[in-house]
């Protein structure tokens, strides 16, 4: 949102007695309604690496600080997403070329990484207890009253997002602020992002906005501009139709620690079971031949 929303005129006193209803309309221009699919589009060319998203997420979800140690990885002391870190800003320093760089994020790339809320979601498909489920907003949430810490979602995730917390024995990841969305509030990170690099909205609208934005950037000479996670782009491969949290990158996905062509693990069930049963059946036939006769 670049200018103040018209509905701001309905709340002009300095102090009032309850939160602004459907505040997401003021902060993201989107009214949140169950039954529609919502997600993020992160335009890394607008990211200034300020980590407001990391802090806003931890403040809203009361996540503990962890690993207070200098990493030496440029300004990224957070290192990666974890059970207590659901937003992570990556910093990549490339050699500083001549003094006039290509516009937009040259020589120092920044990107706010988050759970991709994939469609379909490998973690959800792996979860044996139904703790991970698809919400009425088409987001993917780990229900803390069901999860028994089996940990199968952790190796299943193609992006290494969901993680087990050893303190409380459950899996945790970004919930796209499931509780906030129920109250008509924009997710905390997207609302806090100063430059609207993290944009919240309906997935289709975000995808069209992403397509126009990447084209506009290429016309302006940002050669490396590419989408990640929108239908047909890198990241939406191998059975994963699209990522509800998609990205616009200006370099190869691996530089941001993202796999170029991830695949949906559930597609490997049939081949494994199939060939396994064939092997067992074959051996069974042989065994029957050997064991069937009396002496």
């Amino acid at each position: 949102m670049t200018e103040v929303h018209a509905r701001a005129q309905e709340h002009t006193p300095s102090e009032f007695n309850r939160m602004i209803p459907d505040e997401s309309e003021l902060t993201a221009g989107v009214r949140i309604e169950p039954g529609r699919s919502y997600g993020f589009f992160t335009d890394t060319t607008l990211c200034i690496g300020c980590k407001a998203c990391e802090v806003a997420c931890k403040e809203w979800n009361a996540l503990p600080a962890d690993d207070v140690r200098l990493s030496g990885m440029s300004y990224d002391n957070t290192r990666r997403l974890s059970s207590t870190t659901w937003r992570h800003v990556a910093f990549i320093e490339k050699e500083v070329r001549d003094n006039t760089q290509q516009a937009l994020q040259s020589s120092w790339l920044m990107m706010s990484d988050v759970c991709k809320h994939c469609s379909p979601a490998p973690c959800l498909e792996a979860c044996p207890t139904g703790a991970i489920f698809r919400t009425e907003f088409d987001t993917v949430v780990v229900q803390q009253d069901i999860c028994n810490g089996c940990g199968y979602c952790v190796p299943a995730c193609p992006f290494g997002v969901v993680a087990m917390d050893d303190n409380d024995g459950k899996a945790h990841k970004c919930t796209l602020c499931y509780d906030r969305m129920k109250g008509g509030l924009e997710p905390a990170c997207a609302k806090s992002c100063p430059t609207d690099s993290i944009q919240f909205g309906e997935v289709e609208a975000l995808q069209t906005r992403a397509e126009t934005r990447v084209q506009e950037l290429r016309d302006r000479g940002v050669a490396g501009a590419r989408l990640y996670g929108t239908p047909g782009a890198e990241g939406a491969t191998g059975g994963i139709r699209h990522l509800n949290a998609s990205f616009l990158l200006v370099d190869r996905p691996e530089v941001y620690n993202l796999p170029a062509a991830p695949s949906r693990p559930a597609e490997r069930i049939a081949p494994a079971l199939g060939s396994g049963l064939v092997a067992v059946a074959g051996l069974a036939l042989a065994a029957f031949a050997l064991l069937g006769r009396r002496r």
């Binding site: 379909p120 089996c150 190869r252 691996e254 620690n257 170029a260 396994g276 092997a279 042989a286």
Partner: protein, 317 residues
């Protein structure tokens, strides 16, 4: 992480040339350890034992094999279930495993298979104890069906993840787990038969075990080879442990059975040794597969090699 490799400059539009994000793994390893590895080994063996026992019904007039298979099924399921519950990070919610049937989750399917197999074996065991022969024989069919499931679902369990080593070749993984379980099942029954002096049956079981272990050996070789082709690069030490485990679980027993067949004099001792090696080796190999898989998840380049766009390399559909 002191001397952190600085990210080599990537050409935005060019192919991937080994860039990583300061060496941070892009996927996460599972927390599984010996508990899950042992469960897979035991479950596969017990499952296959029920199948073999059913196949051997013709010669199993007194039902000794049947009783042994039922006992194996019940004990293995019991121990397996305990191992899995203890492995949970929130064990007191173990019952939630039976909260839902999720067709896309091998673990969900596996839980129901384990329950069914365990139940059938338990009914069989009780029937045997009470002498209800007809019930014991009837229980063998569901137990065998469950057993087949037990011996292969764990292949899907590992394949349906993003861990490079496990996800490299699902079909080969399936064949490897199926044959390894079958060999272990046959070997276990052979041990029982030998102990009961039923040498003829034991010989036939040895032949089944030899065949299965042979197929398993081929499958293991194929699996390791295909994993390298897919991009999994392991340091030397890890190579040693992986091949060692395969040797113990399959190569050695194959040699043992072959020697037993060729040297009638020492047949009993060689067969017992081969079967015992196979049974224990099977569990060791499963643990090694779990460990090596977790290690591959920590190597970013393994994942990135595996996830290059299709035209970059040949992959299953």
């Amino acid at each position: 992480m002191n001397a952190v490799p600085s990210t080599p400059v990537a050409n935005p539009t060019g192919p991937w040339r080994g860039e990583t994000y300061y060496g941070v793994p892009p996927v996460r390893r599972s927390h599984w350890n010996w508990k899950v590895g042992t469960y897979i080994g035991l479950g596969g063996m017990a499952g296959a034992a029920q199948v073999v026992a059913l196949l051997a019904r013709g010669r199993d007039r007194h039902g000794a094999l049947r009783r042994q298979a039922h006992w194996l099924g019940s004990v293995a399921s019991g121990i397996g279930a305990v191992l899995l519950v203890v492995d949970l990070k929130t064990p007191h919610r173990f019952a939630n495993m039976l909260r839902i049937v999720r067709p896309t989750s091998p673990m969900s399917l596996g839980t129901w298979i384990l329950s069914g197999f365990g139940l059938a074996s338990a009914v069989g065991t009780v029937a045997e104890l009470l002498g209800a022969r007809r019930l014991g024989r009837a229980a063998q069919v569901p137990a065998a069906i469950g057993g087949a499931g037990m011996s292969v679902y764990t292949a899907a369990l590992l394949s349906a993840t993003s861990t490079p080593l496990w996800a490299a070749e699902p079909r080969v993984m399936g064949a490897r787990f199926g044959s390894a379980a079958f060999a272990a099942g046959a070997a276990a029954l052979s041990l029982g038969a030998r102990r009961r002096g039923e040498d003829a049956t034991a010989d036939r079981l040895d032949e089944v075990a030899l065949l299965a272990a042979g197929v398993g050996l081929v499958a293991s070789g194929l699996a390791e080879g295909r994993a390298v082709a897919a991009g999994v690069r392991r340091p030397a030490l890890e190579w040693a442990t992986s091949l060692g485990a395969v040797g113990l679980a399959e190569a050695l027993p194959v040699a043992g059975y072959a020697a037993a067949a060729l040297a009638p004099g020492a047949r009993r001792e060689l067969s017992l040794a081969a079967s015992l090696t196979l049974v224990l080796g099977n569990i060791v190999m499963r643990n090694e597969i779990v460990r090596a898989g977790n290690a591959s998840a920590d190597r970013p380049r393994d994942t990135f090699r595996l996830t290059q766009p299709r035209e970059g390399r040949r992959r299953t559909r």
